[in-house]
């Protein structure tokens, strides 16, 4: 089979992996069974992405791969050789928070905060999806082009339904996202 198969059978079964994480090239050695989430948290010390359900049901582990929001608990680290990964730690610029992070603070978009990094990473990509004209299950007519101005509260709630909040801060999360969308 391929070279990587031969390589991983040597030694301790771990494989070399290089990814661009928050703009920096990171090299690590992981077992094939390690999820991207565990690799980010345990190997790279990026504890922003949270491990909650570990089954793709809560969204707390949301990160971006090549700019798209994904669940890092439901994918293997070894599947992302050479990819661009962004975590919540990668949003600030020169010590300044991202406008969406500021909006979450301003609108009290969290209480315990455990889901927050996932909420923010999800919302950021969700706004880009809406700008790209993607419809959602809340869109009345999918045959028409979706305009960013159509991003109503109902649209935001539907598009963010993959991120659960145990403290049920949903109204404030929606307010934060609406505010950030208006400003962007």
């Amino acid at each position: 089979m391929s070279e990587s198969d031969t390589e991983e059978r040597q030694g301790d079964g771990r494989v070399h992996l290089s990814m661009m994480v928050n703009g920096a090239l990171r090299s690590l050695k992981v077992e094939p069974r390690m999820t991207l989430l565990d690799a980010l948290r345990e190997e790279l010390g990026l504890t922003g992405p949270k491990k909650s359900c570990d089954r793709g049901e809560c969204g707390a582990c949301t990160v971006h791969i090549e700019g798209r929001r994904v669940l890092s608990c439901m994918t293997l680290a070894v599947m992302h050789e050479g990819k661009q990964i962004t975590t919540i730690e990668g949003l600030e610029r020169d010590g300044r928070l991202h406008p969406l992070q500021e909006a979450f603070i301003e609108h009290d978009g969290f209480q315990c905060g455990f889901c927050t990094s996932g909420q923010i990473m999800s919302a950021l990509a969700m706004i880009q999806e809406a700008k790209a004209g993607w419809p959602s299950a809340a869109t009345a007519d999918v045959t028409k082009r979706f305009a960013p101005a159509d991003l109503s509260e109902a649209e935001i709630r539907e598009r963010m339904s993959g991120n659960l909040c145990r403290c049920s801060c949903y109204p404030n999360i929606v307010d934060a996202v609406v505010d950030a969308t208006r400003r962007s």
């Binding site: 094939p32 929001r69 419809p135 539907e158």
Partner: protein, 331 residues
């Protein structure tokens, strides 16, 4: 998760040969179902072969005859956002948008979507409860257990599970084809023939063999396609599997139904085509609710409820009716 080895496939022929020879090898694409099964120990492959880099398998293209070919590695979100799909087959876009979450739709491949396994809690349980799908011969804990979410059509005493895919329901209604490359070359499997009823071998979800690789899904051009709708009812409004769902596609003749395609999810081990109702609905006025209702009922004479899901028989007929009405109004 248990330990396993991982490698990347560069060439479909080599991937197919590897899969044919090795019953402990599994293909992985999006991984959103497979990794969940592995975490729950419902799948324990020794080797994973990553097929994401296989060439030309993620494209969505309009065919010369007006149909659409969807590469097996196209992601659910790309298909749902595709303007040709949205215009020609809104039922496909809607069925995808009503499934999973934004994050999962970015990850899950179309081939993997139709390969996903049942959400029956007994099948997924880590404590190895009796499940003929998980461990053949061990029994079916759902048959006399909590079976509110289970089948009302085509089940057997060995298995009462339902198939969880939404888009499979839409594809079944549209008579799509699954294009499979195997050891003896390429073949097309009609969507209605792809998934199986459980019978006494519920461990087999579909008709694929070892060494079979789904390369694409082809949707033929349908006059009914443009006036189509996917209606899904769930225990919560978003990010949940269907209690029951319906895919309806309608071509009208004035205010009457010229032809209709109708399939349901959440009711059987496979997407359930309502062929009797499709015939009975021909010529019925879209304004005559009672006649629509009577025509749909012809597909429910052989419905068999379990202890906790009798409600599905009435609910499914109402969902089918509403889906036909909404699709019809788009014609």
């Amino acid at each position: 998760m248990h330990p396993f080895t991982y490698s990347r496939a560069a060439d479909p022929a080599a991937a197919i040969a590897a899969h044919a020879q090795d019953s402990h090898l599994a293909f992985i694409a999006g991984g959103t179902d497979l990794l969940g099964l592995m975490k729950d120990r419902a799948a324990l492959p020794d080797r994973l072969l990553d097929i994401n880099a296989l060439p030309d398998m993620a494209r969505i293209e309009v065919l010369r005859d007006g149909g659409v070919r969807i590469g097996a590695l196209a992601r659910m979100s790309d298909v749902a956002a595709n303007e040709e799909i949205r215009r020609r087959f809104p039922v496909i876009a809607e069925s995808l948008l009503f499934a999973a979450s934004g994050q999962l739709r970015n990850m899950a491949s179309m081939g993997g979507n139709i390969m996903q396994r049942t959400r029956c809690a007994y099948f997924r349980d880590e404590d190895d409860l009796p499940c003929n799908k998980r461990k053949p011969g061990s029994g079916c804990a759902a048959r006399h257990g909590l079976n509110r979410l289970h089948a009302i059509f085509g089940w057997s005493d060995e298995c009462v599970a339902t198939h969880p895919s939404d888009v499979a329901v839409a594809l079944s209604a549209l008579d799509a084809k699954v294009v499979v490359r195997g050891r003896n070359g390429e073949r097309s499997i009609s969507f209605t023939e792809f998934h199986r009823l459980p019978g006494n071998t519920p461990d087999r979800d579909n008709v694929l063999d070892r060494g079979d690789l789904i390369v694409a899904i082809e949707v033929p051009d349908r006059i009914e396609g443009r006036a189509s709708h996917y209606l899904k009812l769930r225990d919560r409004e978003s990010y949940e599997f269907a209690l029951v769902s319906a895919a309806a596609a309608v071509a009208t003749n004035g205010s009457r139904i010229g032809s209709v395609r109708l399939a349901m999810g959440g009711v059987a081990h496979k997407p359930w085509r309502l062929t009797a109702a499709e015939s009975a609905l021909r010529g019925v006025s879209l304004d005559d609710v009672q006649a629509l209702r009577t025509a749909i009922a012809t597909s429910f004479v052989d419905a068999r409820p379990l202890a906790h899901n009798t409600f599905k028989i009435e609910l499914a007929q109402r969902v089918a009716l509403r889906a036909v009405q909404i699709a019809g109004a788009r014609a």
